[in-house]
């Protein structure tokens, strides 16, 4: 919204009789609206007042009266900048008054009405100064908060209005302009009995610190002050059937584009953008809070922070080099590249036939129906990744904490450190290779191979027909309906197997194994080349005939230590093939 000013033709003065002072000439009712702001500078002998604004006629009212800044040269002159919002318009054209002043003070004021300022709290920065010279200066404010602001500077002097007025210093860091034709002040008597006020108003488009300074005035005691006020963020922009370009250079609350064949560019903060059927390019160089695009054929580039993005039917490319908090994409057939950090990202990609590249860290990603490849080459921490129907490949080179995969038919390779990992796999027809540390792995209906080169904290498999190979240690494994092959070359702390039809081969130690409901004719412990410690075979749960009991495994190349064989049915087996040693066992014929 554009900042505009109204009613700067003149000010007013009073030499010690009234408790108010006019700060403007008559302002036509059509020149302002409810919600506009009145801004005025009031200079006086003392620091008393003003306490508010009033219209000279009618019933108009104000709200939110605030003295935003003041400067006081005690005993000589003070100047204040006050602001209030127009609550209701007067019924008749009139002028503005600053009220609540002290009777007996000489006073002068200059004010105006501004539209397009922030509706709730426009005040931003200020500075004030006092002195005695021909060149008053407020001193510089701090750097402004935003580019679009209104700067208002005022100088109060202890002298009459027929003093040499001087001029406001100009330049990008000085407030000048809108100074009116007349110098405002009292006149008569001694010079020190008068008060004058001069002001300048400038609408700036940069964040440069502002100073109100004058040169060439009659040497007087003076007080100077400057204050800046923020412009409102740009309002909603609707573009329909635009074949050209749309560029937003200022703060923008909402932008809606339809059927844009050209380019749409936002160079600063864009809170929300909605685009439909964009065939051209969209570039956001500033912060983008929420972006929703549909049927985008061209490219989308976000250089700054992107809080949330939703894309539907993107055929072209998407590049995000800044921070991306959340992104949702559906039917992406092109290339999606994230080259920097992704913090707290939720990425939802459906029917991706292209590729997703993550060059930075990824906290959370949700992918559905990905047919292309997903590659994260950076550090990945505390990741929660959901992927459904991935027929391509996924590669993570960094840390992966948690992943959930459903119907994965492609290849997953995790070559970095995998700590406290929890992976759920459903209908895996491809292969999964983990070379780092694995905290927990759950698989359901795995038909392909799983290779673990490192430690596995806990592993649960249900209806697995593929193979599991663990070259690291296995702390606990629970397998149900195992049809495949389990080969362990490391230490196995505890294993619970139910209805195992396949073969388990342990080349390392097997500790505290619990086997329940083994089918007839199968013993899933052959061969064990390491030490078998305290196998527990509880009675009453063995349904089939055991041809080869754990004690008759052939061959046992290691050590069998204190087997608990208290159930008679298993003792019918023979030990003819035992080539190892048995210690502390109760073996009945």
């Amino acid at each position: 919204m554009t900042i505009a000013i109204t009613g700067t033709t003149s000010g007013g003065n009073d030499k010690g009789t009234a408790t108010w002072v006019s700060v403007s000439g008559n302002i036509p009712l059509a020149n302002f609206a409810v919600g506009d702001w009145v801004i005025a500078a009031v200079a006086a002998d003392s620091t008393i007042g003003p306490k508010g604004f009033e219209w000279s006629v009618g019933t108009g009212t104000f709200s939110d009266f605030t003295t935003v800044a003041s400067s006081n040269k005690s005993g000589y002159v003070s100047v204040k900048i006050c602001i209030a919002k127009i609550a209701t318009k007067p019924s008749t054209e009139g002028y503005l008054q600053a009220v609540g002043m002290r009777s007996g003070d000489s006073k002068a004021g200059r004010g105006f009405i501004a539209s397009g300022l922030d509706s709730s709290s426009p005040y931003d920065k200020s500075a004030s100064s006092t002195g005695s010279s021909t060149s008053p200066s407020s001193g510089a404010t701090a750097t402004l908060s935003q580019a679009d602001e209104l700067a208002f500077g005022a100088v109060g002097t202890e002298g009459p209005r027929d003093d040499t007025r001087g001029s406001f210093t100009t330049g990008t860091s000085y407030v000048s302009g809108n100074e009116t034709l007349e110098f405002t002040g009292t006149i008569g008597g001694s010079a020190a009995s008068n008060i004058s006020c001069d002001s300048a108003i400038e609408i700036v488009s940069a964040t440069t610190a502002q100073t109100a300074a004058k040169t060439g005035i009659t040497s007087r005691d003076w007080a100077a002050v400057v204050a800046t006020f923020k412009g409102a963020a740009s309002g909603t922009t609707y573009n329909q059937s635009v074949s050209g370009s749309s560029t937003a250079t200022g703060a923008q609350v909402r932008q809606a584009n339809k059927l844009v064949a050209g380019s749409s560019t936002a160079t600063s903060t864009l809170v929300r953008a909605v685009s439909k059927a964009v065939a051209g390019t969209t570039t956001v160089a500033g912060a983008l809070v929420n972006q929703i695009r549909k049927s985008l054929v061209g490219s989308t580039t976000g250089v700054g922070t992107l809080a949330r993005r939703t894309l539907l039917i993107l055929v072209g490319s998407t590049t995000q080099s800044g921070l991306l908090v959340r992104r949702s994409e559906k039917f992406l057939s092109g290339l999606s590249t994230l080259s920097s950090s992704l913090s707290r990202v939720q990425t939802i990609i459906q029917v991706l036939s292209g590729s997703l590249l993550v060059g930075g860290s990824l906290l959370r990603g949700v992918s559905k129906a990905v047919q292309g490849s997903t590659t994260a080459s950076g550090f990945i921490t505390r990741v929660l990744t959901y992927q459904k129907t991935l027929s391509g490949s996924m590669t993570t080179g960094g840390l992966l904490s948690r992943s959930v995969f459903v119907r994965l038919s492609g290849l997953i390779t995790i070559s970095g450190l995998v700590q406290s990992l929890r992976i759920f796999l459903l209908s895996l027809s491809g292969s999964l290779t983990l070379s780092g540390l694995l905290g927990k792995l759950s698989q359901v209906i795995q038909s392909s191979s799983l290779v673990l080169y490192s430690s596995l904290g806990r592993h649960s498999s249900v209806t697995r027909s593929g193979t599991i190979t663990s070259e690291g240690s296995l702390t606990r494994e629970i397998s149900l309906f195992l049809f495949g092959l389990l080969t362990m070359s490391g230490i196995i702390r505890r294993t619970i197997l139910k209805r195992v039809l396949g073969v388990i081969t342990s080349l390392g130690d097997l500790i505290s194994q619990l086997i329940k409901v083994t089918p007839a004719g199968r013993v899933p412990l052959s061969p064990i080349c390491g030490t078998l410690v305290r196998p527990a075979l509880p009675s009453g749960v063995l349904l089939g005939k055991i041809v080869q009991s754990p004690l008759s495994m052939s061959p046992i190349g290691g050590l069998l230590d204190q087997p608990d064989l208290s159930s008679p049915p298993i003792l019918s087996s023979t030990l003819s093939s035992l080539s190892g040693s048995v210690f502390g066992s109760t073996i009945l014929p």
Binding site: T66, T67, A69, K73, S74, K125, S126, T130, A140
Partner: protein, 95 residues
């Protein structure tokens, strides 16, 4: 002897007030004080002939006092006002 206090400037509807203490026996300014009840710091400086001779920052939410013995401000007993001479006191808020 007593100390008289005069307000130099204020901001944010009085949330921030800068005061000057004057010794009415010597009519010398002894201290500058910032009562800052805002959420932002205030910056102050003194110029002498356009040259900065002193700077200070008053943190947010507290009162800060500076001894300004090196800044020889005076007192105009006729107008009951501070004689600035060649000095300019500037403050800005937020800093």
């Amino acid at each position: 002897m007593a100390t008289q206090t005069f307000q130099h400037s204020s901001f944010g509807n009085g949330q921030v007030v800068v005061e000057i203490d004057v010794n009415d026996a010597t009519w010398r300014v002894s201290r500058v004080r910032c009562i800052n009840n805002s959420a932002h710091a205030l910056a102050a400086r003194v110029l002498s002939g356009g040259t900065e001779v002193w700077t200070g920052t008053a943190p947010a939410g507290q009162t800060t006092q500076w001894n300004v013995a090196g800044v020889q401000l005076g007192w105009d007993s006729v107008n009951s006002g501070i004689v600035m001479g060649n000095y300019v006191v500037q403050v800005r808020w937020p800093a």
